[in-house]
């Protein structure tokens, strides 16, 4: 029995999905050059605009990659093949690990592509800083992977696209992913700082300008979202298995 085959096919299925490439690679890349090339020397929020927006678009694309396993689950449920899987020796944890690993593997090309695009517009970081930023983004994506599972298990497949689209828009808008921040202080700013997407976008600045990575608040926010979402995903999974 080889769980690597399951992982390999999980990745293969995504790589063959052209819409996935359009959304995780082409869209953030086009947005990055479209918005940032005119503002190469602008500063934003205490850092260079290209660095800020490069991080934002890397986050935007990889957020879709993180939500991907959830979308696949919804499709497999609606097609009924999930029941066929349940009558094979494949264990649920093996499937889960393969899906999470595939999401992370598929988020990496987005990051690399946007880093290259950023470098073209003058973003310069030390190798250790590129790696540290990547590490922070991968950690910050954890809540999104789990949100994908929750949505995938609970939503009927026809509601999936609007649901995931809405989630990405909300987290992006309030997290500053679109290249502007809704507030600089007050209650709205507090709301923004309570979102994992806000801290994801801050990853570039935290590494390049502040140094030393995220402040404690960022880790706390990511941890709370994860701790709250895991049992919800567990309930969603059990609800689905009970129904099948």
């Amino acid at each position: 029995m080889s769980s690597s085959t399951h992982f390999r096919y999980e990745v293969l299925r995504v790589l063959r999905n052209r819409v996935f490439h359009a959304v995780t690679l082409a869209l953030p890349l086009v947005l990055f050059f479209g918005v940032a090339s005119g503002q190469r020397h602008a500063t934003f929020n205490g850092t260079s605009f290209p660095l800020y927006f490069m991080t934002a678009m890397a986050v935007y694309g990889s957020m879709f990659a993180a939500l991907g396993p959830g979308a696949r689950i919804a499709r497999d449920i609606s097609g009924g093949w999930i029941r066929q899987l349940r009558i094979t020796p494949l264990r649920a944890p093996t499937d889960l690990v393969a899906k999470v690993a595939s999401a992370y593997l598929l988020a990496l090309p987005t990051l690399v592509l946007l880093y290259l695009a950023g470098a073209l517009l003058g973003v310069r970081l030390a190798a250790s800083q590129w790696l540290e930023m990547t590490g922070l983004i991968l950690v910050g994506l954890v809540p999104f992977v789990i949100i994908g599972f929750v949505v995938g298990y609970l939503m009927p497949v026809d509601a999936l696209t609007p649901a995931l689209g809405g989630i990405v828009v909300l987290f992006s808008l309030f997290g500053g992913v679109y290249g502007f921040e809704l507030a600089k202080s007050g209650l709205m700013f507090d709301v923004m700082k309570a979102l994992p997407s806000y801290w994801l976008v801050q990853a570039g600045k935290s590494v390049a300008v502040s140094g030393g990575g995220w402040p404690g608040q960022a880790w706390l926010v990511i941890a709370i979202w994860t701790v709250v979402l895991v049992p919800i995903a567990g309930l969603a999974y059990r609800r689905n298995t009970a129904r099948a």
Partner: protein, 312 residues
């Protein structure tokens, strides 16, 4: 060897019950299947066949009762790779080719068959390179069959494997199935086609309203089920008296005509002529399996509904 395994124990269902809300799908069902047997679960739609198979696969938890698959509960037997199932629904995973999907399924099992062999056996080799989302109904059925077989399970559970398949497709399916059953596997399939149960099963278990109404070798069930009918014109006959005649199982009257369903038409006819010399226009008709099947499984309250479903 897995703890608790009992390869000679076969499959044992005891006092199995399952309700969905107020609807009782399976009621206190008992069934023992020996290793190597090919058993047909025959019954009309809504008889409880799918629920029974889902419980044997560990997909549905029974309200009461137990199932043992070679000594293990269903979920454990599935995990050990002993069970292959073909469900009624399941459009294959997208963005894969047929051969890849079968290879993927094979990778879940400890000792799978060769992917090429399974594709050939199920006739899926003809479209092995096709995308799984571009299959016809018959092709998708072969793929699901291949997925059920590739793990080389000891027990195959097939839920209406030929539903929605054309006659030729059915013939091919059962042709492959025969080869497989001949290898000593235990096969349980649900069907509402009497001919299929008769032609391909060693044993038929007739299910209606969640209960076993008849169980035995195909020939025995046929004998039990197949009745001949005597029609005659006999005004003023008492159906209760007629029903009491030897060899008669049921008696009905339609105006002046009587219809006797007989377990033994010869005896019944002699008795009828002795008891009612006035009977005329006598007609003896051969048994019709389909009618007999309906008779055995018909809902007591509303026979018409089941009759329609059974003949679909």
């Amino acid at each position: 060897m897995v703890t608790g395994a009992d390869p000679d124990g076969g499959i044992v269902l005891s006092h199995l019950s399952k309700s969905y809300g107020a609807v009782c799908a399976v009621r206190s069902l008992d069934l023992a299947i020996a290793p190597g047997e090919t058993v047909a679960l025959l019954g009309p739609n809504g008889a409880g066949k799918t629920t029974t198979i889902d419980m044997m696969l560990g997909l549905t938890r029974p309200d009461r009762g137990t199932i043992s698959v070679f000594g293990l509960p269903p979920a454990k037997a599935v995990r050990a790779g002993w069970v292959g199932g073909m469900l009624q629904t399941g459009s294959p995973l997208d963005h894969l080719r047929v051969r890849e999907l079968v290879a993927l399924t094979a990778s879940y099992y400890p000792a799978p068959l060769g992917v090429d062999d399974v594709l050939r056996l199920t006739g899926a080799d003809a479209f092995a390179g096709q995308w799984t989302t571009r299959l016809s109904g018959g092709q998708a059925q072969r793929v699901r069959f291949a997925a059920a077989l590739v793990g080389e399970p000891d027990l195959l559970l097939l839920d209406e494997p030929t539903a929605g398949i054309d006659v030729e497709g059915r013939h091919d399916f059962w042709h492959s199935m025969r080869d497989i059953a001949g290898q000593g596997k235990t096969v349980v399939f649900a069907t509402h086609y009497l001919e299929e149960a008769d032609a391909y099963a060693d044993r038929i278990v007739l299910i209606a309203r969640g209960e076993v109404v008849a169980d035995g070798p195909a020939t025995e069930i046929k004998a039990q089920a197949s009745s001949r009918t005597i029609r005659a014109t006999l005004p003023d006959a008492d159906t209760t008296e007629l029903r009491a005649l030897p060899g008669v199982r049921a008696a009905d009257r339609h105006g002046d005509a009587i219809i006797l369903s007989c377990s033994d038409a010869d005896t019944a006819l002699r008795a009828l002529l002795g008891a009612c010399p006035g009977a005329r226009d006598i007609e003896v008709r051969g048994g019709n399996l389909e009618e007999a099947f309906m008779e055995l499984t018909a809902e007591k309250s509303d026979p018409a509904v089941d009759v329609m479903e059974a003949t679909r």
